[in-house]
């Protein structure tokens, strides 16, 4: 099969556009942020598309008002600004509200991790999983490819809760070949089975994990890869069943480590199950990156590039971890 490269947002928005033809209950809002496919919605659904301007706080508040009146709402903006400029609006109007009333608001943040590599630390989004996981009543979706993004369209309409959807900003090649094979509610897929070591990753880092697994396979080292895409809610028991055969887990994310991100999710599962599996967390330490460069360059600076991952795995296998 010829694997296609696409942006998650274009695939997702194209399918929302199709739904808007038959589902009059959908509103699409943005904070002055576009995409080629969004132009279709902008032109055809002028009555159900609103650009609120560069005003993320108001974006959340307007979305809340529409959702309280029963609309399915999509609120679209650059990920760090959507989650962090408007964090208290999300807390009050989505997290608190959703405990009392049914509201279907889908926050679509584009630019997860280091998608906007050369734009610098204001545009890097490495806190979002930690801070959004803290909020009750909000689901978190962190796909690794556009196939998952497409699959999430149905879910976003069906599950009437606030959700945070974090999309990569770059076109990425598909990981999953058949959309029907993906069980979204399960939240993760073990893409490769390994022997002693398993890499657990989300978003863009799943591509890196797969690359590392391929390189090591050529050297007859078999490592596992688990891609997590539904971070909240999380099927803890199913996940533990999948990893309990491994001796070592390496978490890979374009996010801060030891601060409540995906690594913390995995760590608490190991702890809850009194597991003896050893955990190595790979992500960003307690600082920002001002130096400019490509995504690969920035990964290298922060020791989360392929070479660093391979080095860690080899050390683990030698018992040096």
């Amino acid at each position: 099969m010829n694997l296609e490269k696409k942006t998650m947002r274009d695939v997702f928005i194209e399918h929302i556009y199709k739904r808007m033809h038959k589902d009059e209950n959908i509103f699409f809002l943005c904070a002055d942020f576009g995409s080629p496919k969004l132009d279709l919605i902008r032109e055809e659904f002028k009555d159900r598309f609103i650009n609120v301007g560069i005003a993320e706080q108001n974006l959340i508040n307007i979305a809340t008002g529409l959702a309280l009146e029963g609309y399915t709402v999509y609120a679209y903006a650059i990920a760090p600004f959507l989650t962090m400029r408007a964090y208290e609006q999300i807390r009050v109007n989505l997290s608190l509200h959703a405990q009392l009333k049914e509201i279907n608001i889908n926050l679509i943040g584009v630019g997860a991790g280091l998608s906007y590599d050369v734009s610098g630390p204001t545009h890097h989004c490495i806190e979002d999983i930690s801070i959004m996981r803290t909020l009750p009543n909000i689901e978190i979706f962190s796909p690794s490819d556009w196939v998952l993004a497409q699959k999430f369209v149905d879910y976003s309409i069906k599950v009437k809760k606030p959700k945070y959807i974090r999309f990569d900003g770059k076109p990425l090649v598909q990981i999953y070949e058949n959309i029907d094979d993906v069980e979204l509610e399960k939240g993760f897929i073990e893409i490769r089975k390994g022997e002693d070591v398993c890499m657990v990753s989300t978003g863009y880092m799943t591509h890196k994990a797969l690359k590392v697994a391929e390189i090591l396979a050529e050297k007859n080292i078999t490592v596992g890869v688990i891609d997590i895409f539904l971070i909240k809610p999380f099927e803890e028991n199913l996940f533990f069943e999948s990893i309990k055969g491994y001796k070592n887990i390496i978490t890979l994310e374009e996010g801060f480590i030891n601060k409540g991100g995906m690594d913390s999710l995995i760590s608490s599962i190991l702890e809850n199950n009194k597991s003896k599996i050893l955990l190595k967390r790979m992500g960003f330490g307690d600082s920002y990156t001002f130096e400019i460069g490509t995504r690969d360059y920035l990964h290298k600076l922060n020791n989360i590039d392929e070479e660093s991952i391979i080095k860690n795995i080899k050390q683990i296998l030698k018992g040096e971890n």
Partner: protein, 290 residues
């Protein structure tokens, strides 16, 4: 004998819209609400009494003046007007009104701020009659704009009313919503600004002067009317006119009020927001209210 100007609404005897006795009726209700609010403060000293007293006539006019359409037995009735209480701190004076109309049992008023009660020092939408979460300032107007767009898209005639505090205008998110409402011509949106001119620590003019408010809102394409926020007749006539007026503009009533209205000691205190009243003081004030 029931006089022809009276009618019964949700078990409460009310005056008909065209009654000449309307103002007198609303004034009496305001005195009653002020007393009941002070009685709540007597048992719940955590409540913000000064902020709650500046908007008594505004609440009375909305509910007893039948500016709002509502159904206490069906709080999510589709045909209700949406009333967003954005200045949550000062909404204790709405508790006796909601209880009076049967939104919840009057006995709950004796449990404000007590263990297990749903009536807190700052109300949220867990309280029947409150639409949104109100404790954090600067959210109500934006949410109201979303509701306004939703009602317009559905071609519905209900209005969205918002009670905003003047201190809330320091929040940048409010101005994002003010800009949005004017541009989107949200003429089913009527905002009453409880302009009591005092924040927590000082008079607004000593912090960052908010004036000229009328010009600011007009520049953002709003329809602005200035009223005395303690004059029920002015409030009633203006609200009745403005809710029917479809002129492609959101409406603002700058209701000039006095923080702590009815309590001389609070009326002149720049720190009134954080002041409480002792029980014997409340007795004296209630005795003097008429």
């Amino acid at each position: 004998m029931v006089f022809k100007e009276y009618e019964t609404v949700y078990g409460i005897i009310m005056l008909k819209e065209d009654s000449k006795k309307n103002s007198e009726f609303l004034r009496k209700k305001a005195v009653w609400v002020r007393k009941e609010t002070l009685n709540i403060h007597r048992i719940a000293q955590e409540t913000r009494i000064a902020s709650s007293l500046s908007c008594v006539e505004i609440f009375v006019t909305f509910f007893y003046g039948k500016i709002l359409n509502f159904d206490p037995s069906n709080i999510s009735w589709d045909g209700r007007d949406r009333f967003i209480i954005s200045k949550g701190h000062g909404a204790i004076s709405l508790y006796p009104i909601l209880a009076d109309f049967g939104f919840f049992n009057k006995r709950e008023l004796s449990r404000v701020c007590k263990e297990g009660s749903f009536l807190g020092g700052i109300p949220d939408s867990i309280v029947p009659g409150f639409e949104t979460i109100n404790g954090s300032l600067g959210h109500g107007l934006g949410v109201a704009c979303g509701i306004s767009i939703a009602l317009k898209t559905k071609n519905k005639n209900e209005n969205v009313f918002v009670l905003l505090g003047d201190g809330e205008l320091y929040e940048g998110s409010v101005w994002e919503a003010i800009m949005f409402a004017g541009e989107h011509k949200l003429d089913n949106l009527v905002v009453v600004l409880d302009n009591n001119k005092v924040c927590m620590l000082d008079y607004c003019k000593n912090i960052l002067d908010l004036e000229p408010l009328e010009e600011k809102f007009k520049a953002f394409k709003w329809d602005v009317t200035i009223v005395n926020g303690h004059d029920v007749e002015q409030l009633y006539n203006t609200l009745l006119t403005k809710k029917k007026e479809k002129n492609n503009k959101p409406k603002l009533l700058i209701a000039n009020t006095v923080k702590g209205k009815g309590v001389p000691r609070l009326e002149t205190d720049s720190l009134s927001h954080v002041k409480s009243l002792a029980s014997n003081e409340i007795d004296e004030i209630i005795a003097g209210l008429q």
